[in-house]
Symmetry: C3
Subunit: 264 residues, 3 copies
């Protein structure tokens, strides 16, 4: 027996309230063989960019055909469209507000479906909890290997979220902090390819008054240093503190400027 | 192969300690095909009403035959009975302190079993962790489709939790806040049927000094307003703030009075 | 069909970031029939002792053959070895920093494998996230019932974590608080066997200025008392407050001294 594709969830619902459990109840009711994996339910409320980043970070590590269900949805019940995007690496279901877009960068899109056919919705369909009434039942039916064409009419495009650009100029990169993880590591939008563009191994990373010389290869290389810079497991430049929190030590917040300079 | 019925968990154990994982270990040891869904483990410690409300909110969305396992159990190891309640919509297992009662309202009860037969308990059976030693093994054995009669002697009744009444008087409803969700939405005990009883669409909802005119149909209808009132996804009157927290804005707490008046 | 052995996870990753979900994606990609149970992801950052204690508390309640995957790993990417320990009661995978050791006490070890063969690793293998790149793929392949010999060369020993000793002297036990659970219960290193050694039922437990007379058998025995002492569900002496937090009431912290004296 071929197991059902995985359905993986990203929401801003938290885990104290039963919203996530209710979505799972709906899905298991439709597909008793559903395999559901929580990615995160602690996206800050209404923080679409954070949810999109988590989807982008996780998608490369799931099997092809995985169903990515995202609900960070301040516009629930308004005119924003509910979408199903069928891409080469998986199916993405959620509101058309940019949440799904970062994980789709550079990937081939096969079909975009506006979820305007209510035959798979819960009935009645609320205007306050589409996670339960639209997205969960669509994901569960899709996990039964229905074709994505059955869920609504084709759409031409979907909302892309703005990605803060890295400025490359004069043997220098200028980026910013885009995410702070639970260890207090400061993750920037500067990617490996940007660092390669500098074509130098003698680098200084600057954040506030901190100057970090060189990129380390592991957190443990930072014993005895205040902060270290390294390329993290998502391929981004990260500022960390060994056995500590770079966030607490530096006070830096999401959006703050980080500069990488060649020392040559 | 027919999959095992879902076992869904509500506790006040949190997820930092391994208590929930231990219960799952016990259940998988008994039924390797168990399907376990977390509803919430963040019920405030010993808050039986909150746990009961979560069970009530979630039960309509799970398949028939689901096993609801609840452990919010300050009286563990005392004379309070451990129960298994076999109802038309599922099996409810937990302490007889009201935790199971709100989800059973208006549903047909088939049998109430006092879990006084220890043959399915872990041995030795502690007096401090019945979740592990009594409720988990009973739920797992039940998920193997054993008859509920094998778990103990029949009981006549179970403890009902007090539900705060909504006062209907003079084209006016008086209720209270019963739950505050992770978004800061203020959920009241006023139900759709109460609002229908008013038989008016021109309503004012009052909380502290806030007067909210009319019921909105979605959170997004609240753009530019301070607070909005709507019927939420559980069928209750809720006071919310679009992309914000009604709880933080109003300072209102569980138990505070909310009034709905006709403006006709 | 025999179900896959359970893979159970203990980490300090939290559940807000997608790290745990990513590990699960890797494991389901390798073994679509994997059965994964979360023990805790809220181990305080880099707190190897706490992670080891959680593994010790939980392992007795999982089926034989369970795979215990632990990632509390400040030394990731340095010279510390990644290990697979094949013991009579299960397989233990994680960094060689003591994390796995408390759960292995008194159990027969069959083989210790240094995970130095990269054929099951993700490629490329980062030096910052061995949970994803080494431990998850090894656990998933092991859950397909591969022999542990295929994962690397044999090792002679593994790092044991220091366990704080209980001093037995003069009809008196001196121990300390080793863990504080989510209810605020203060769990000590004093075990049932230590209490038996005292060979008395008239005991006084001392913590700061609190003197607790006798051991109770349940939390509910503490109605009307400030604090109670009891043997908890893990077999340790615990100081608790009925429907309250002994931690908040006493202000006591991990590492503080607790004394048990005979009153005879």
């Amino acid at each position: 027996m071929i197991p059902s594709p995985i359905i993986t969830l990203v929401t801003d619902f938290g885990t104290a309230d039963p919203f996530v459990g209710i979505m799972k109840g709906v899905m298991y009711g439709i597909n008793p063989g559903a395999r559901i994996v929580d990615l995160s339910h602690s996206v800050p409320a209404q923080d679409v960019f954070c949810g999109a980043l988590i989807l982008r970070a996780a998608a490369p590590y799931f099997p092809r055909g995985t169903i990515y269900l995202g609900v960070v949805d301040p516009g629930v019940g308004t005119s924003r469209r509910p979408l199903l995007i069928d891409a080469e690496h998986g199916f993405f279901i959620g509101p058309d507000n940019g949440l799904l877009s970062l994980a789709l960068n550079e990937h081939k899109i096969r079909r975009i479906t506006n979820l305007d056919d209510d035959k798979y919705f819960l009935n009645p369909t609320s205007r306050t909890f589409h996670g339960r009434d639209i997205f969960a039942p669509v994901a569960a039916h899709l996990s039964l290997r229905l074709s994505s064409e059955g869920f609504g009419s084709p759409a031409d495009d979907f909302t892309k979220i703005a990605w803060p650009p890295v400025v490359r100029a004069d043997a220098c990169l200028e980026g910013e902090i885009i995410y702070i993880d639970g260890f207090g590591n400061l993750i920037t939008n500067i990617e490996v390819k940007d660092v390669y563009w500098l074509a130098s191994t003698r680098l200084t990373v600057s954040l506030r008054n901190f100057k970090l010389h060189g990129l380390q290869s592991s957190y443990g290389s930072g014993v005895g240093r205040d902060l270290v810079a390294l390329i993290n497991s998502w391929g981004f430049l990260e500022i960390a503190k060994f056995c500590g929190s770079a966030h607490l030590l530096s006070g830096a917040k999401v959006g703050e400027r980080v500069v990488v300079q060649c020392d040559d």
